[in-house]
Symmetry: C2
Subunit: 411 residues, 2 copies
């Protein structure tokens, strides 16, 4: 039974502050979701003395040591040697890994040098952890007293794949014979982190389920993990409970962004989109086009930052701007209609607002936003209000616009 | 003389993976720049046993312990109590801090509760570290044997201010009487990290200067720090050496972004800008408008993702698109000219290219980009090529376009 883990992150780039360590947060989040506590995260340089100190402390503090980094071919990649030293074992070449490495080099016509064989050496008796996205495999060593050590690549993408495919299933299987992990991610719109917390608190999770959430504005993600034996039924029931409580706020199940959800809907419904952005300055367009293949449904748009641009590109009337102002229901409506008519897209979406830090008034304080959607049979504008700094207002506006577009496409 | 530091980051949010710890990287970078080595970074939960373990290990490993987090008013904020415990000292209310706290609450009309007094309690004999941007001050305790402990707020903005204003000057003063820290940041365009490393390696830094760099694509930053006694002359000379070696690549001195530099130049030169973006999908526009006050020089632009949009919004001819294709010198030229003429802006900038992952050909592989600038007396297009994934190509293109615009404005 694995109860307490220690995470080791190694590399000079971490102790000199050149790189922010995201690996340990990823691993800690996944361990939390299956009920394993992290006693400590230790970061040390590629230095033999420090590495040995960290390994000794980790063994003293936890049942499970999960380390990352230092598996590369260069001289400063000391990890495998130090772990072998720590375990008092020899380093042995794994012929299978060596052959795989040679083949990779051949295929890419990269000359093979002796130091590359370093990546095929492992502490005697360790099991190899496949690296599905890179050259350096990791390893798993049993330490005795029921303690285990896993060492993974420090490249986040490689670490993620190795952890999810090998380490996590192994831990869960140890926790419970015939065990499995079932997980679902819910993407949330329209709730703050504390509102979300309040809503899910009453859900009885029992002993096998965990809920974790992460807020990275404007994104809010809820993750349900159920682990144990024969937990399919419980998992399905908990998913249903969450859906029942949160359905108005869930915009996706799975790791999708809002722009991916909107893109898929536009594609499925064979609709085309044109944008007229003012205060968001091109952010919505940029989010839409971040998705490969978006040219299938995105026509393009206008960033009409000045009044003159609203008149010339969208046909907003000078009278409307004069009477109602650039941030108004009337201007938003003319913008969405204008971009739709001028482009022939099936949907025209417009945004105009006061992002600050200047430009606010008592009537239209900073954070006042109008969004409008024009379709063949429907033409509407809605007002929104966002608190905070300029950047936050712009981000929040882009998310609100995409979410409204999503709802429109679903109806 | 402070030679070796240990950084402690505390908080349940770190050991459950809810938050990525950026504080330790910031502190490690600053310590590196003044020649202090970080022996280890230790992250533990708000748990008495773990905190005491971390404090003991930190004292054993380093001369200098710098901790963050757990100074708040709630029950799970245990740090100050645990440090007092570790030091075998009493907790004493600092009346000055208590009075300041009460005043803050009064000014904001927030009811004062007893648990807030917790933030005014410190280990006996500790010096207070002012928190210029938040409520909870930190503290500095002398541990004996020439060892020192500093504890700061875990809120990044507060930690940064407390570290820069109090901790860093104290360490430098210890290193050298009458010492000072002089630092300069150079923002780099057009070099890879390893090219930059090669160029600055021959510069003789002596014993008092350090160079550190950080790459966060497309940004590359070089930082010179000189610390010691009477180092003004050396600092000035090293700045000049760096300028001599890197001048074609430095786009700013100081912590400015490329879009800030361009924005300032547009404003100073009283020029206005209009954009015609294809493959960057609005990113350049979004970067320009991220800067508050950009409406003074940014007219707006068109995101002409489709050929039809290039024709309708910019007046690119169907013949040009037919003959040369959307990604071509001719199309880029017609786009920049078109947006300039249609908006009356003094500068028209256009971008068209193949961002991938599909759409590449042998003649125009993924990563092929044309950028064009149209001014009253000048009209030019240049081709660029970017390696990598879609997102990287788009980011690189936006940086190249802004840098060319910067050079144009300087001439």
């Amino acid at each position: 039974m694995m109860e307490t883990a220690v995470i080791l992150s190694t590399g000079d780039e971490l102790t000199t502050g050149k790189v922010i360590d995201t690996n340990s947060a990823f691993i800690a989040d996944r361990l939390f979701s299956i009920g394993v506590k992290v006693a400590a995260v230790l970061k040390v340089a590629d230095d033999p003395k420090r590495l040995l100190w960290a390994l000794r402390e980790a063994r003293a503090l936890g049942d499970l040591i999960i380390g990352t980094g230092g598996l590369g071919p260069t001289a400063d990649d000391l990890t495998t040697e130090m772990v072998a030293n720590f375990l008092d074992r020899n380093l042995i070449v794994n012929e299978q890994v060596a052959a795989d490495l040679r083949r990779r080099f051949e295929v890419r016509s990269i000359p093979w040098t002796a130091n590359n064989l370093k990546q095929a050496r492992f502490p005697e008796g360790a099991a190899i952890i496949a690296n599905p996205v890179g050259t350096a495999p990791g390893f798993h060593a049993i330490l005795g007293n029921g303690k285990n050590l896993f060492w993974l690549s420090g490249v986040p993408q490689e670490m993620t794949a190795m952890f999810n495919e090998t380490v996590l299933p192994w831990i869960v299987a140890q926790q419970d014979r015939a065990a499995q992990i079932l997980a679902c991610t819910f993407k949330i719109y329209g709730l703050s982190e504390s509102n979300l917390d309040d809503l899910v608190k009453p859900i009885d999770l029992g002993n096998h389920a965990k809920l974790s959430f992460r807020a990275h504005y404007p994104d809010l993600t809820l993750r349900l993990t159920v682990s144990g034996e024969a937990v399919q039924k419980q998992f399905a029931e908990l998913c249903d409970r969450i859906r029942a409580v949160l359905s108005p706020y869930i915009y996706a199940e799975g790791d999708l962004t809002m722009e991916e959800v909107v893109g898929r809907l536009l594609f499925e419904k064979q609709q085309t989109l044109a944008l007229a952005e003012s205060c968001t300055g091109g952010l919505i367009s940029q989010r839409i086009t971040r998705i490969a293949g978006s040219s299938a449904y995105y026509y393009g748009g206008a960033v009409t930052y000045s009044n003159d641009a609203k008149i010339k590109f969208l046909g907003v009337t000078a009278a409307t701007l004069e009477k109602h102002g650039a941030v108004s229901q009337q201007t938003a409506l003319e913008m969405s209609q204008g971009i739709r008519e001028r482009t022939g897209a099936s949907i025209g979406l417009s945004v105009t607002g006061v992002a600050g830090p200047s430009g606010g008034s008592q009537q239209k304080p900073i954070g006042t936003i109008w969004i409008s959607i024009a379709q063949e049979n429907r033409h509407e504008a809605r007002s929104f209000y966002f608190h905070g700094e300029r950047e936050r207002i712009i981000l929040g506006t882009s998310q609100a616009a995409l979410n409204w577009l999503r709802q429109t496409l679903l109806n």
